[in-house]
């Protein structure tokens, strides 16, 4: 190939040297602070959750990657955040991170007043505040019409009544960013409520659900200065804009999880012997691994293209819906294929695959399931 006489600005799908460094740093951090044993301990319903790894994660400052420097964050790009969360997804390192330092922080940036940004974002960047978005309710959905939690305003005071259901990372929150419906105007807005407030009950959802809670709110008092943008009107729109920016980062996390189960499956198909040969020699087993790899790569490139579009300010709506559809289905399928490869061994908790299997199910729904995003994608394409 001849030398270019257009030396700059080539199509380039590689990470920058800084992003490569970040990737390496996060990967070794996860290996050191969140080894499988620690992740299993955190996931165990009976063992106490160790505090140390989370403290270490906070100390890296990474969680503020998308918070601008003027609010105490790192001011990174969306692709930077993708690199970080892909590596955390390999764990999978549990939150609250995407739910707080990404979704809640971006919502504040989209809809908050300057005072609100100054008050909350620096503390979110340091991990002192873990503000988790509480959006969905019994009917489970990400539409404005699904919100029934009610706020009554009397002067500067709010009284909130109702329930939030299937709240991702709800239990670990210090604050809840609640989608609420105004009893006066019927507008759906967002209010910050301390998670330990009187009248709030947070219940862990048992079973296959991954870090999901039910939240009951009975006559919970809140301050109207904590309404995002100081008005219910416009709050939901700010949340939707923030969701569209959060989703590709979440997709990168799902990519990281898929990558991890792919590597487990390749390794296992090379080392596990049956009928006197590594099982990877069997084409039926190869099919599972190849299908897994296709799902992984599809998720990877749709996610990173969406992140790139966010970074350059290109209209990214269709790419975001595409990415979430592909990453949610991809991570889900990747885990299934991995279970096919691993058979009984994969279902043993101590092996670690099921950490991903559980994560893949909950993240399938989080911020909208594939059916939801397929419909939005059709709208975006003008069908």
């Amino acid at each position: 190939m001849a030398d270019s006489y257009f030396p700059e600005e080539k199509m380039d799908l590689s990470l920058t040297p800084e992003q490569e460094m970040l990737k390496t740093a996060v990967r070794s951090f996860v290996q050191q602070e969140y080894p499988k044993e620690t992740l299993l301990q955190i996931a165990s319903p009976t063992e106490p959750t160790p505090e140390e790894p989370w403290e270490q994660l906070i100390n890296t400052g990474w969680l503020g990657i998308l918070i601008p420097t003027e609010y105490g964050g790192e001011g990174g790009s969306f692709t930077d955040a993708g690199v970080l969360f892909e590596e955390l997804g390999r764990g999978p390192v549990p939150g609250p991170h995407i739910s707080s330092a990404v979704l809640a922080a971006l919502t504040l940036l989209e809809g908050g007043t300057e005072d609100q940004k100054l008050e909350w974002l620096p503390r979110m960047a340091t991990g002192e505040v873990r503000m988790v978005a509480a959006i969905t309710e019994e009917d489970f959905g990400w539409l404005e019409s699904d919100v029934h939690l009610t706020a009554e305003q009397t002067g500067g005071r709010l009284t909130i009544n109702g329930n939030k259901s299937y709240v991702f990372d709800g239990e670990t929150a210090t604050h809840l960013l609640c989608a609420v419906r105004s009893a006066d105007s019927n507008d759906v807005g967002l209010v910050i409520v301390p998670a330990d407030g009187v009248g709030i009950t947070i219940r862990h959802l048992p079973g296959f659900a991954w870090n999901q809670s039910a939240i009951e709110m009975v006559d919970v008092a809140a301050d109207s200065i904590n309404i995002i943008g100081e008005s219910f009107a416009g709050g939901w729109a700010a949340l939707e804009r923030a969701e569209l920016k959060t989703i590709p980062v979440l997709c990168a996390y799902q990519v990281g999880g898929s990558q991890a189960v792919y590597e487990l499956s390749v390794d296992y198909s090379r080392t596990r012997h049956q009928f006197g040969t590594p099982i990877g020699r069997f084409q039926r087993v190869q099919d599972q691994v190849i299908n897994l790899l296709n799902a992984l790569d599809a998720a990877r490139w749709t996610a990173y293209e969406a992140l790139w579009k966010l970074d350059i300010g290109r209209d990214s709506v269709d790419s975001v819906h595409l990415a979430k559809t592909v990453a949610s289905e991809g991570y889900y399928e990747a885990c299934n294929f991995a279970h096919e490869v691993h058979a009984g061994v994969g279902s043993m908790t101590e092996y670690g695959l099921t950490l991903h299997t559980a994560a893949s199910r909950t993240l399938y729904n989080y911020l909208g399931d594939p059916k939801f995003h397929r419909r939005r994608l059709a709208d975006a394409l003008g069908l």
Binding site: M1, M11, L13, T79, Q286, N294, T302, T325, A378, L383
Partner: protein
């Protein structure tokens, strides 16, 4: 990361040059039949003429070396050229040709200097069209099992045998092929790779009757042929890569044919399907407003996007000199499975209108009917979907003891 070529002012300037040149040099009257079998001799000659003009300008094989008649340009130029050709409904080259992308690439990697100087310039300037002759009745997925023979006789080889699924309609100037050069030697060490003058005595071309032989934007083959070699005398000079070295030469074009070259253009059938559904009313509303149709169209869109991104990734890797492992066959696998799935979706969305090119009751000037057949046929050229998975498995290190390397691309 950067998912698209950023057009520099110089590139935009180049684009203007290309646009103006194409306006001047594209022969008028080029049309695009839905089934390339309908490509007339006259239409073919218009495309060849356009190809020669592109070749003279260095734009037919724009990234190939100038010393062999290529354009010596970089990927940024190639992208602009492909985009401008696509805007005119054409590909580059604008006709079916296995010469530059596959055969030529093998000669670049494995030919001697003398061979490169002799064979490459006519290909890169569009003076000749070449066909690839690989499959045989007993050698499909197992290409190394070819039975045709080339026996050394003085300064020549005498070739005998039969090749199938070859070429296109309307003939060619050169054929390149793989034959047994040593019946005693081990598999993969017994083959020769030849560039053959198609006018030599003893070569017979007989069209096959197939469901369809598709292709895009007029670069489709239309017809596949059986080619018989009956004591065809070929000079030893035409043997590329050396005696019994043919498999090595073949790995280069097989790698490219398996999708490692990547591409940047869209699948025009997808665009046609979407256009049709947006603009055609059924029961008082556009087809695209029907809930079932929408679901299927979104399915097609999603998979098309995945294929596009895989091909883009491969294109970037190829042109950045990053070595690939499984990526080529992966893109091929995904593209082929999408094509087949799409023919099902077209059947679901359009019903019987997808099965006829009747001007009144067919759809999209016959393009949907053509895809209904092409989606099936396209799963095998360059290796079946199953073969792509086999190659991927070897390349990721699970299919064999030793991880397989990709073919050399030069």
């Amino acid at each position: 990361m950067d998912f698209e070529p950023q057009y520099t002012p110089e590139q935009e300037e180049f684009r203007q040059e290309v646009k103006a040149w194409m306006k001047e040099n594209m022969p008028p009257g080029i049309v695009h039949p839905a089934d390339p079998i309908d490509l007339t001799e006259e239409q073919y000659q218009l495309r060849r003429e356009f190809g020669r003009r592109l070749g003279a300008k260095g734009w037919l094989w724009s990234t190939s070396a100038t010393e062999y008649g290529g354009g010596g340009l970089d990927v940024d130029h190639a992208i602009v050229l492909e985009e401008e050709a696509e805007a005119a409904g054409l590909t580059i080259p604008p006709f079916y040709d296995s010469g530059g992308r596959l055969g030529g690439a093998s000669i670049v990697v494995w030919g001697t200097e003398e061979q490169k100087k002799f064979f490459l310039p006519p290909i890169f300037t569009g003076e000749v069209r070449t066909w690839q002759l690989l499959s045989e009745p007993e050698a499909g997925s197992d290409l190394a099992n070819v039975k045709s023979t080339a026996v050394k006789d003085g300064d020549d080889y005498i070739i005998n045998g039969q090749k199938v699924y070859v070429g296109s309609s309307l003939g060619c100037d050169y054929m390149w092929t793989l034959t047994v050069t040593d019946t005693e030697a081990k598999r993969h060490e017994n083959l020769g790779w030849f560039m053959i003058d198609a006018t030599l005595p003893g070569i017979t071309v007989q069209p096959m009757d197939l469901l369809i032989s598709g292709g895009e934007s007029g670069a489709g083959s239309g017809v596949k042929n059986t080619v018989f070699f009956d004591n065809v005398r070929v000079p030893a000079f035409n043997l590329i890569g050396g005696h019994n070295q043919g498999w090595k030469v073949a790995t280069t074009h097989l790698e490219l044919e398996h999708g490692t070259g990547g591409r940047i253009s869209r699948n025009p059938v997808v665009d046609r399907l979407f256009d049709y559904c947006r603009t055609t009313n059924r029961r008082g509303q556009p087809v695209s407003k029907d809930e079932d149709a929408r679901e299927k169209l979104i399915d097609v869109h999603i998979e098309q996007e995945i294929v596009r991104l895989f091909q883009l990734r491969n294109y970037w890797m190829r042109h950045s000199g990053i070595s690939t492992t499984y990526e080529g066959p992966q893109a091929s696998y995904m593209r082929k499975t999408l094509g087949l799935k799409m023919s099902r979706h077209i059947l679901d969305i359009l019903g019987p209108a997808s099965l006829t090119f009747d001007p009144e009751l067919g759809a999209s000037e016959g393009h949907m009917e053509a895809h209904s057949r092409a989606g099936i046929v396209a799963i095998h050229p360059g290796g079946t979907t199953d073969i792509q998975k086999v190659i991927m498995s070897r390349r990721i290190g699970i299919g064999r003891e030793v991880r397989e390397q990709a073919g050399a691309l030069g």
